[in-house]
Symmetry: C2
DNA sequence: GTCGCCATCGGGTCGAGGCCCCATCTCGGG
DNA sequence: CCCGAGATGGGGCCTCGACCCGATGGCGAC
C-alpha cells in the first residue's frame, strides 16, 4: 500500500485543548490533516473504523476506555491503521503495553509540539517513533532478557482493576468489601496481588498509578 | 483605562500542547493576541511584568511555582493586569484561593475551548467569568456565612507543604523524619494538621490533593 | 484431564497510620 | 510585652495496611 499524499488522522484525547493544539500543528502541515476527534477510547475506536482514517493518535490515559485498550481493539479490527500513542508520562509499563497493543509510536505530551509531525511521518513510512528515553528503556529490556520465562510485565485482572480503582478513591478495605459484596480478606488479597504485580508497596503508589492509567481523576 | 483594541495575552501552562491549543483559539480572534508563553509560575511572573501584557491566563497546577502563587505575586506587583485562571479541576479550594489571589476569572480546561474567548472579553470589560458550577459554589459559601469567625478555608504552611509532598511521594513517616531531620512524631503531627486543615482522612486523599495542586506528578 | 490463572475466603504478625492527650520554643504583629 | 501561629517533641490508643501462611471452586488452554 503506497503512502497517501495526505495522511488522514484521528486525534483522541479527553481534553479539548490538547486536541485543538494537535490539530493546529498537524493541519499546518501540507501532507497531513485531522479528519476526526474523540474524547474517549470507545469513541476513538468507532470513528477510526468508520471514517477513512490512516492514523490514530491516542492518549494513553483516558477515562472509561483507555488509549491502550482502544489501540488493542483497533489493531485487531483494522491492522492497516497506524497507531501513535500520546502520554503525559515516561512510563515503562505504558510503553510496553502500547507496543504490545500494536502501536508504532509513543510520544510524550511534554515534547509533542516538537515531535508529533516527525512521528506521524515516520510512522506512515512504516518506521517507529519513540521518545528518546523510551529507546534506552527498550535496550535495557533487551539486555535484561536473561530471565528465561519470567512474566516480563503484567496486566491486572478486571477484578483487580475494580479494587485498585476503589483503593485509589480512598475507600478502606472494609468499604470496598461492602461495595463489591465480598469479604475484607478477599479485598486485602487482591490488594496484595496488585502490589506484587506492579512492584509497589503501598496505597499511595497505587493511587498515583491509577491516576496515570486514567482509572480515576486526581 | 480604556479597553485596548487588541488584548495582549500571556499563556502559562506546563504543557506545550495546551498552550498551543489556547494560542490557536485566541489568535483566531481579531481582538486578542498571545504575546508570551510560560511553562511555570515563576516564568509567567517574569514575562508578565516585562512584556506589555494586558491579561495572563494561568494554569492553577504547575510544577514549582503554581498558577495561584504567580497570580498572587502578579496581583501585588502589577494590579492592573487581569488574571484568568485555568484548571483541570472543579475544586472549591482552588476557586477560593484563585479569587483571593486576585483572579477575575476561572475556566475549566474541559470547557476552555468554548469558554476562553468569552472569559477574556468579560474579564477585559472589568467583569468576572466563572464556570457554571463555580457560581453555585460561591452562592453556597455566601449562604453558609453564618459561622462567625471560623477559618473559612486554610492554606498549608511551608513545612506542611514539604511534608505533604513527601507523603504523596509514598515516603513513610520514618523516611520523612530522616529526610527532614526531625522526629517521627513531628512528622505525624504535621500530617494530622494537614488532614485536619483539608478535611481529609488518609494519605490517599492527600496524594490526590498534592497532584491536583501540582505539588507532584502522578 | 490436568495445569494454571482467577476469584474467593480464612488465619496470623507487626508496624504504620490515624486520632487523641500533653508540652516547649521562637518569632512576628498588635 | 504578650499572644497566636508555626514548628518541634512526647505518650498512648486502636485500626488498618502490608506481608506471610494456607485452601477451594471454576474455567479455559494445552
Amino acid at each position: 500500500m503506497p503512502i497517501p499524499l495526505v495522511t488522514r488522522i484521528l486525534v483522541a484525547d479527553d481534553h479539548p485543548i490538547v486536541r485543538s493544539g494537535l490539530k493546529k500543528i498537524i493541519d499546518a502541515q501540507p501532507d497531513m490533516e485531522v479528519v476526526a476527534e474523540a474524547d474517549d477510547g470507545a469513541e476513538a475506536v468507532k470513528k477510526a473504523l468508520s471514517d477513512d482514517v490512516h492514523l490514530a493518535i491516542l492518549d494513553v490515559s483516558m477515562p472509561k476506555t483507555t488509549g491502550i485498550q482502544a489501540a488493542d481493539e483497533l489493531h485487531k479490527r483494522k491492522p492497516e491503521l497506524k497507531l501513535l500513542m500520546l502520554s503525559m508520562y515516561d512510563s515503562e509499563q505504558f510503553l510496553f503495553e502500547s507496543l504490545k497493543a500494536g502501536a508504532s509510536g509513543y510520544v510524550l505530551k511534554s515534547d509533542a509540539d516538537q515531535d508529533i509531525v516527525e512521528a506521524v511521518r515516520r510512522t506512515m513510512r512504516g518506521q517507529s517513533f519513540l521518545y528518546p528515553s523510551a529507546v534506552s528503556t527498550l535496550v535495557k529490556d533487551f539486555v535484561d532478557r536473561g530471565r528465561p520465562e519470567e512474566e516480563q510485565f503484567d496486566i491486572l485482572t478486571p477484578r483487580e482493576l475494580q479494587v485498585l480503582k476503589l483503593i485509589a478513591e480512598a475507600y478502606t478495605s472494609k468499604e470496598i468489601a461492602q461495595e463489591l459484596v465480598i469479604s475484607v480478606k478477599t479485598v486485602e488479597r487482591h490488594r496484595q496481588n496488585i502490589l506484587d504485580k506492579l512492584g509497589m508497596s503501598d496505597r499511595v503508589e497505587l493511587t498515583r498509578y491509577a491516576i496515570r492509567r486514567g482509572l480515576i481523576q486526581p
